[in-house]
Symmetry: C2
Subunit: 375 residues, 2 copies
């Protein structure tokens, strides 16, 4: 019902009854409950139609905040949104994720979370939940099984965070960064609501978030979307994972930069963009090669999943003017469906905070699915 009001507000109780098939008494009682919890409120508006004028309902949610965070190799990000998705806060902090211990990371994330929560509390908002994006394999129980670029193995981040925050009274979830980024696209992006989406993180690591038939598909153990380690070329270069010819090794951002210091990647990518804009032939060649290899990976995902769109995130976004044409040509050539199955390849518009924003989206999804805050 909350989802219906979000999508159709302002709407009347009769509209809800008509659409959900619930009878009017049930709708009235459920609406009263949502109003009690301040998730929905009545507006002064009435519908201009024949018959008794109806009181219209809209999302309230001003008393609530949903928080998303991201831990990555060189930064922490925090985003807070209200129930309608309005951005309340968006912070980014440098953080040495590649060298910090898990305990140091927990302390840093807990400190950042505390500051966000304090801000929300000061603004008289109740925190609905926190979801943290991590670049790694996350088990279905939320444990970080392995996050290679952070050097983590078997880290119970959600549990450790709850302890560090002394059982804060709101749920804490942990999820793969690509999975959360695709949720952000699905809820807040220009392709929002598109049922079949693949999102590719464009970092030194490459991961995919997969939405099919409107839902995140995590696979049996929660390990889906490991597109960075599909083999693009058995004769290709060695990957950091020890395997050969992985997508990450031929089309990850690491191919385009010389530094191994994550904190330096952003400025090196800025430099690549500058050279490409200046028409430097070697740079343009390299971008076209990386684009083609990226296209090979996209073609594999497209042949297997037939998505409506593939969205490129992270550092792929500033490089999209050069990567995208080569990637699209290659992907179309290797796709068995005519006209690439109608799939489009686009650059994300959600910025570097996509995964954190997806964390906030994930919390809102939980509320929409019935995990309501207490009245």
């Amino acid at each position: 019902m909350l989802r219906f009001v979000r999508d159709n507000a302002p709407c009347s109780r009769a509209d809800i009854a008509a659409s959900t098939g619930l009878n009017k008494a049930t709708v009235s009682s459920l609406v009263a409950d949502l109003i009690d919890r301040r998730l929905v409120r009545e507006t002064g508006l009435t519908e201009n139609r024949v018959g008794r004028p109806a009181t219209m309902l809209v999302l309230d949610g001003s008393p609530y905040a949903s928080i998303g965070l991201e831990v990555n190799v060189d930064y922490l990000t925090a985003v807070a949104v209200d129930l309608s998705g309005e951005r309340l806060l968006s912070w980014r902090r440098a953080f040495p994720g590649a060298t910090a211990t898990p305990a140091q990371a927990v302390a840093a994330v807990a400190a950042l979370t505390r500051r966000v929560v304090n801000r929300m509390t000061k603004d008289q908002r109740q925190v609905l939940g926190v979801a943290v994006a991590v670049p790694g394999l996350i088990g279905t129980d939320g444990t970080v099984r392995v996050a290679p670029n952070l050097g983590w193995h078997e880290v119970d981040l959600a549990g450790d965070l709850a302890k560090a925050l002394r059982d804060p009274g709101f749920p804490i979830q942990v999820e793969n960064d690509a999975n959360l980024a695709v949720l952000a696209e699905h809820r807040f992006g220009p392709l929002g609501g598109t049922p079949n989406l693949v999102y590719l993180t464009g970092e030194v690591g490459v991961g995919a978030g997969v939405i099919l038939d409107g839902r995140l598909r995590r696979g049996g153990q929660g390990f889906s979307g490991e597109i960075g380690h599909i083999q693009i070329d058995p004769q290709g270069p060695r990957c950091r994972c020890g395997r050969t010819g992985c997508l990450e090794a031929v089309a990850g951002i690491g191919v385009l930069v010389s530094t191994t210091d994550p904190a330096e990647v952003e400025s090196e990518i800025d430099e690549v963009v500058r050279r490409a804009k200046a028409g430097d032939a070697a740079t343009l060649d390299q971008l076209a090669t990386v684009g083609r290899d990226l296209g090979r990976g996209i073609a594999i995902a497209a042949n297997l999943l037939d998505p409506d769109a593939v969205i490129l995130g992270g550092y792929y976004v500033p490089l999209a003017p050069w990567l995208l044409p080569a990637a699209a040509d290659q992907a179309r050539a290797l796709s068995i469906a005519a006209d690439f199955g109608g799939c489009e390849i686009v650059a994300s518009t959600l910025g570097y905070g996509a995964a954190a924003l997806g964390g906030a989206a994930r919390v809102l999804d939980s509320v929409d699915s019935g995990r309501l805050p207490s009245p």
Copy 2:
């Protein structure tokens, strides 16, 4: 409710109410409707428990038949099952699918369907529906967009069949063969009910059927599962599709046989099995190579989708003793998740009729989802 009775029979109306959350009056009225339609019947059994003894319900469905068919390059298959999945009939006919025109195929499928329907009618069964498996790209509207091995383009098989059968009064669906085969595995196979399954057809063409979170995932246009044309090796051999290094070109059954006549494939595969059993070194080498390349394809699907199991069908089944170990070793080596994400690789036990059986499963799914026969 039908699904609940199938999974939990014998069960009482109170069991249904408790599990579905519907109130007892609603359950009674719905059960009365299902009894009217002869989908459910009461048994003499009563539950041995404190309180008033309850009348137990079981699936009836003896008055119904669900029919699945498969059109392939060298045969037509027909399967009929009752509502509980009991096999009523299983026929296989030689058919020159690779050379027949679509019109000839429609006539042959219609003739076979008519014979199956007549048999069911004679047995006093009402036909719930027919679903036809085709090895090709099927649009979401059921049109066969392209079936390369049949030489079909834009064939409205469902419409043409309905015309040939003179509007038979039951629905006719058309679906990709791998999609139907994975539905058969999910409903009738030893891994039935496993939420995340990938099925690979082992024919001259290789296709995948993908079930994630318990449902077939068809993609945006219905073209998912085209694993046969993912590029395994950019330096690999030319594929019949014109591309290079496709999975089908390195690990399709065509690699193991010399004939181009589909009708000869089965006997040639028998010969390969015979040589492998005799320990012929060249044959064993070739099977190991094909197995490894198949493992590369499986690794890609596993990294991207994290299924609980990958099931090998078609001609991969008789060859499984030699293909499977090499495929499993390679897939495990190329999988980023530890211990291959808990995924198992197994040979199908449903035989060559898997896709047709999946057609029957698809019709039963429609009934379970509420497309009930008239009382």
